[in-house]
Subunit: 429 residues, 2 copies
C-alpha cells in the first residue's frame, strides 16, 4: 500500500463566499475520497481574483501532496484559474491541438460560432495532461511536478462529477493513492434519536480500536459511517463490523448506504404486489412526494389527498362530520378516519395519514404547535400515534413525514416477514 497522501481542495468562486451557493463540491469530492480510504485534509474557498487564487494555491501546494481545484476554467474573463496557476508553476500555456479540434466541433454542433474566448479553453500548462470533458468545453487538467499532483476541474457539477469519477479516480487508483474498492460502510437508521443510536453503536468503537465512527442526524433519520483513518481495516472487515452493527440496531436499521425510507417501502410492497395511499393535512403533499420521488413508484403508490380544510376531509375522504366536530381535525380519531378513507378511495392495501399543527399559528393547550397525529391502515388493522416535534414549520413537516414513513416501513416489513393471524398494534405512541 502506498503511503498516506495529503489531499487539499481549493474551491474557487465568489458565490461561495457571498453565500449564494452551498459548497456542494466539497461535500461530493470529500465523500468520494473518503469512500476510498482517505480524508481530505483541508478545503479552502476563495474568490476568482488572481491574487486569491495564487496565494491559496501556493500555500496548498507547499502543504499537500495532491491539490484539487474547482472552477475558473471556462471561457469568460472571470475564468482565470488556468492562467494564474500556470504562471505560479512557472509553466507557459501551450495550445492543445487535439482539444482545440474537439472544442470547435462541440461548439459548431451547438450551432454557435467559435470565438477566441472559446479557444482559450484549449490552452494548457506545458506538460499537463487533458482530462476530457464529456459535458462541456473546458477540459480538466492533470499536472505532475516534484512528486506532487495538481488536478484542475471545471466548476459546473454536471461536468465535474463525471470527470472526477471517470478520469481522476482511476488515475489515483492506479497510483495506489485511492483504494479500488469502497473503503467505508454507511448505515441508515430511523425512528430513534442520534444519542440513542450513539449509545447502541459506540461499544463497537471500543471493540475495534481502528474504527472511525461518524454520525449525521437529519429530521429523524440518523446515518452512521464506519471507516478507518489509515486503511487498517479492509472493506471486508468493515462490512463484517457493519453486519454486527445491523444486528445491534434491530428494527431501527433501515439499510446500508443511504436508502430512502420510501424506497424500502416501495421495494417491499412491490415484492408483495401491494399498494399504499396517503391522506395528509399539515404535511400538505410532502408525504406523497416522498413516495413519488422513487422511480417506478407508480406500481406501489396509488395516490394521495391533501385535505387542508375540513370540507375536503369530509367530502373527499369521507371523514364523518360529527367526528371532526367532537374530536377536532387534529386528533387520533381523525387520523384514523383519514387513513381509512384514503385506503378506501384509492383501493390500497396500506394507507398513512398525518394531521397536526405544523405552526407557527394554531395549536391548543392539549395539542400545542408541533403536535402530530399519524394514522396507519394495514390489512391487519388501523392505529394512530401522537408525536410532538420542535422546530420551524418546515422542520415539523419533515419530521412528521419521516415518522409516518418509518412506521409504515416497520409495519410493511413486519407483515411481510411474519403475517400474524390477528391484529396486533405495532407500536403505540
Amino acid at each position: 500500500m502506498a503511503s498516506r497522501k495529503k489531499i487539499e481542495l481549493i474551491t474557487i468562486g465568489e458565490e461561495l463566499l457571498l453565500g449564494l451557493r452551498l459548497n456542494g463540491h466539497l461535500s461530493w469530492i470529500g465523500e468520494q475520497i473518503a469512500r476510498r480510504g482517505l480524508t481530505l485534509s483541508r478545503n479552502t474557498s476563495v474568490s476568482d481574483q488572481p491574487e486569491d487564487i495564487e496565494q491559496s494555491f501556493t500555500e496548498a501546494w507547499q502543504r499537500a501532496d495532491i491539490v484539487i481545484t474547482t472552477g475558473g476554467l471556462g471561457p469568460t474573463a472571470d475564468d482565470r484559474t488556468r492562467e494564474v496557476i500556470a504562471e505560479t508553476l512557472g509553466r507557459p500555456l501551450v495550445r492543445h491541438l487535439g482539444w482545440e479540434k474537439i472544442l470547435e466541433e462541440y461548439i459548431t454542433n451547438l450551432g454557435r460560432k467559435v470565438l477566441p474566448s472559446h479557444r482559450k479553453q484549449a490552452l494548457i500548462p506545458e506538460g499537463a495532461e487533458i482530462l476530457p470533458n464529456k459535458n462541456g468545453t473546458a477540459p480538466g487538467l492533470w499536472v505532475s511536478a516534484k512528486g506532487k499532483i495538481l488536478i484542475m476541474l471545471p466548476g459546473p457539477t454536471q461536468e465535474l462529477q463525471p470527470m472526477f469519477r471517470d478520469e481522476v479516480v482511476p488515475r489515483l487508483e492506479m497510483l495506489e493513492i485511492l483504494r479500488c474498492k469502497d473503503h467505508f460502510v454507511e448505515i441508515r437508521t430511523a425512528g430513534v434519536g442520534e444519542s440513542v443510536v450513539e449509545q447502541m453503536v459506540a461499544p463497537l468503537g471500543e471493540k475495534y480500536p481502528h474504527l472511525q465512527i461518524a454520525y449525521c442526524a437529519m429530521d429523524g433519520v440518523v446515518d452512521v459511517r464506519f471507516s478507518t483513518a489509515n486503511q487498517e481495516y479492509g472493506p471486508d472487515k468493515l462490512q463484517a463490523i457493519a453486519d454486527e452493527c445491523r444486528t445491534i440496531l434491530g428494527d431501527d436499521f433501515v439499510g446500508f448506504g443511504q436508502p430512502l425510507l420510501g424506497q424500502i417501502i416501495n421495494d417491499t410492497l412491490r415484492e408483495e404486489g401491494q399498494t399504499v395511499a396517503v391522506a395528509e393535512s399539515c404535511t400538505g403533499g410532502f408525504l406523497a412526494n416522498a413516495f413519488t420521488d422513487i422511480p417506478g413508484s407508480s406500481k406501489t403508490f396509488s395516490g394521495g389527498v391533501v385535505c387542508y380544510n375540513n370540507d375536503a376531509k369530509v367530502q373527499i375522504l369521507g371523514v364523518p362530520e360529527c367526528l371532526l366536530k367532537q374530536h377536532g381535525a387534529v386528533s387520533a380519531e381523525t387520523a384514523v378516519a383519514m387513513a381509512a378513507g384514503a385506503a378506501e378511495k384509492f383501493s390500497s392495501d396500506f394507507a398513512a395519514s398525518v394531521t397536526g399543527f405544523a405552526g407557527p399559528g394554531g395549536g391548543t393547550l392539549e395539542s400545542p404547535v408541533g403536535t402530530i397525529f399519524i394514522g396507519l391502515h394495514t390489512p391487519q388493522g388501523i392505529w394512530s400515534k401522537k408525536c410532538n416535534f420542535p422546530g420551524t414549520r418546515v422542520t415539523v413537516k419533515k419530521r412528521a413525514v419521516n415518522m409516518a414513513l418509518d412506521w409504515l416501513r416497520r409495519e410493511v416489513l413486519r407483515q411481510q416477514s411474519d403475517p400474524p393471524p390477528e391484529a396486533i398494534p405495532p407500536y403505540l405512541g
Copy 2:
C-alpha cells in the same frame, strides 16, 4: 467610514471534509456579512485535530483583520478549538465565574448532573469577552489583540445564528466594520432562464460602474443580487437601481428578497378572498407542498389530489375515461380536465394541474421523458401549456412545480390588477 477589513472564516469539523454535512455556516455567515457591505475573503475547512486547528488559525490570523471560527467549543473530548487557539495566542485559560454559574443552572434545569467536562465550557482565554449563548452551554468568545479581532462561535446552527445576529453583528457595527443597514438588494425572477435575465440586467452594470451583480439560478427561479465592493453606493442608491431593474424585468419580477412563489400567490389570493386547489400526477405532492410550506396558507389553499394512476384521475377528479383513453394521461386534454376537476372538487377559484413524465422510465416518441403538461383553471377560463425539462426525476419535478407556480402567479396578479371582461389566454406554450 472605516477602512475595508479582511474577514476570514474557519469552519472546524471533520464531517465537512468527509462530505457528511454541507458547509451551511459558510453560506449563512457569508450572506450576513455581504448584506452589510463586506465580503468574506476566505473560508477554510479543517478537521478538529489540534495541529489542523493551530495551523489554519495561525495562517488566517496573519492574513486577516478579523478571524471567525465555528465549532469545537462543546464539552466533549473532540472539542478542542478553545484550548488550541488560547495556546496559539499565548493566553492562559481562566475560569469565567459568571458563565460557570449560568452553565450550572442551565444543566441543572435540564435535570442533569454538572460534570467537569461541562465546566470546561466556562474557561476562556485571558482577556476574552463572553458572547452569551441562549440555546446552549458553550458561550462564544471575542478576543481583541494587536488591532485584530478573533470571534469563536459554537458549531450547532441554532446556537451560532442567534449569537451571530444578536452579539457579533452589533459589535461589528459599532466598530464601523459592518454597515448598520442591509447593503445589498436581492431580486427574485421566475419563468425565464439565467442568460435571459443576465441580458436584461447586465446593462445596469455598465450604467453604474460600481455595481456588483451576482446571479443564482435554481430550478427555474433566478435570483439577482446587487451590491458594491467598497460601499460606493449606499442602501438608498442600491434600492433605486433595483427599482429600475424591476421595471426592466416586468412580469418576470417576482419580488425583492427571496419570496417564495407560493407566498406571492397566497398573499394575492388572500387580498381577494379567493382560493386555489391542485391536482398532480408526476409532481406527486410537491406542488401542494409548495403551498402548504407557507404559514397561514390554509386560508387560500383548499387542497390537492395526487392522482398517480388513471383510476384516481377518473374516480376522484372526474377525468372522463374516454379522454384518458384517446389522449393519454400525459396530454393537454388530461391536464385541463384535472385542473377543472380539482377546482370543482375543492370548490376553489383557481386550480393548477401537472401531468407528465418525470423519468427515468416512461415517455413516448412525441412526449419524451421530461415532458410536462400544466393545466390552469381560473375564473376566466382554462388553459394548458406543454414544457420539457432536462435533468433527473427530482429536478424535473421541481422545475415543473416552479413553472406551474409561476404561471399561476402571473395569472392571479393579472386578474387582480385588470380583470378583463372576456377570457384571454395568458401565455400559451
